[in-house]
């Protein structure tokens, strides 16, 4: 369960950052991306997949969330 820091890049893409793993990747797809439901499975730029417990309402970004590695 890595703790993931999410922030918006200048071009609007979400960055997925895990300090401990030294991992900084863009989020390519996000299962639920709506103001009332946010989270689910995410696919990163390098192809790895993670899972966020769906949140309602959507979190304010930047934020730190727990993700599960799939």
């Amino acid at each position: 369960m890595p703790s993931v820091m999410l922030r918006k890049r200048d071009d609007g893409k979400l960055l997925f950052y895990v300090a401990k793993k030294d991992l900084e990747e863009t989020i390519e797809s996000l299962e639920f991306d709506a103001p009332e439901k946010w989270g689910g499975e995410v696919v990163l730029g390098d192809g790895s997949r993670y899972y966020f417990e769906p949140l309602s309402p959507a979190p304010k970004i930047p934020t730190t969330l727990q993700a599960k590695r799939l």
Partner: protein
Amino acid sequence: MPAMTREETEALIQEVLEVYPEKAKNDRAKHLAVNDQSLEKANKCITSNRKSLPGVMTIRGCAYAGSKGVVWGPIKDMIHISHGPVGCGQYSRAGRRNYYVGTTGVNTFGTMNFTSDFQEKDIVFGGDKKLAKLIDEIEVLFPLNKGISIQSECPIGLIGDDIEAVAKMKKKEHGKTVVPVRCEGFRGVSQSLGHHIANDAIRDWVLEARDGDDSFPTTPYDVAVIGDYNIGGDAWASRTLLEEMGLRVVAQWSGDGTIAEIEKTPKVKLNLIHCYRSMNYIARHMEEKYSIPWIEYNFFGPTKIAESLRRIAAHFDDTIKEGAERVIERYKAEYEAVIAKYRPRLEGKRVMLYVGGLRPRHVIGAYEDLGMEVVGTGYEFAHNDDYDRTIKEMGNATLLYDDVTGYEFEEFVKKIQPDLIGSGIKEKYIFQKMGIPFRQMHSWDYSGPYHGFDGFAIFARDMDMTLNNPCWKNIKAPWKKETASEPVKAAA
């Protein structure tokens, strides 16, 4: 010597790896790469931030060096206790040349060494009592200190002392900030983890001090300079440019910085990150907690400075944008004169770099402004994200080396024969004895500042002074010179 092709560079890496045993060879191969600008991500070509191999000569430091030497040490009005045996603090004392203003020993303590000087009995019975006593003594002898940080050396973690408890007790007793930092040297693979631990300690013990206190008057142009350690006055050279363009620099992290500045940083509008490697953690934290955006900038060489000033200005209104243009215009004559003077003397010279966490990519622009070419670069303790940023800065088919060993570096230099090497003190004399001009790029070889337009003039002068020094012609003994000299006439 013409630029090397991709195949030649790859062959060179293979040749250098040849001497290692199989296992070491496989490991080291991952850390050496030929640059390929078409790559988006560095992890495709290079592995970084891994444990150094036993038996090879690495040039890295430890977590204590990263925390006490880099991040905490320059905070001038705090006393940083090197908690543990005496050597760690003494041998790293004042070596980094982070300049500051103040009266040392009265209200600033940057170049002093405070240590708990562990003895056998402290290891056996624990050093907490000694630490408490030390803090009390500091309060008596140096009452103008604004806080104390406890920088752990290896034994503290090994014997399991509770420095947090001492810190909390003494904080209550003296009413000053006391920060325990768990930066024992054995943690992590290099000084990089020390930076992270130090950032986390600032986050947990200092940064929140003024939350909910709005008495500090703010302006829309408040910024903090983060990750500039004022080596030879770098932060001052940077600060003048930012102030000239109309920004107000509230805090300097941590060169010539104070604890009050750090506590005020959450009030700023934008964080400017120079050394990304050592302070991105705190910038990310402030972005999340206080919604302060951060950007990276580069104040080496006029091209990059102008680029950075414009990028910084883009975060503000038109007065700042005009200010940035005004600053660039104002220094134009000055830096053009520098280039006109030194470029003809340095044009086409080839440089190899091996520094810490930011300069291997940040100074490339400055060399290019002088017409020089960086043909190889590498970091002691960079992570993947640093190499991501480096790939675009470096030319194609140039050499990248992560955590290079003494042997590899020497061999690379012998083959590539650069005109100048920029690295640290441990490498300096080896290469000078090989007859290759050398500049220390950690401490600017006791010169500086190199940041900003003013610094660029000094940078150019230093490079010229080193490269074109007549001594390099005399490095070979006269009888070993191949050029056939006039036969000596026999005495009549």
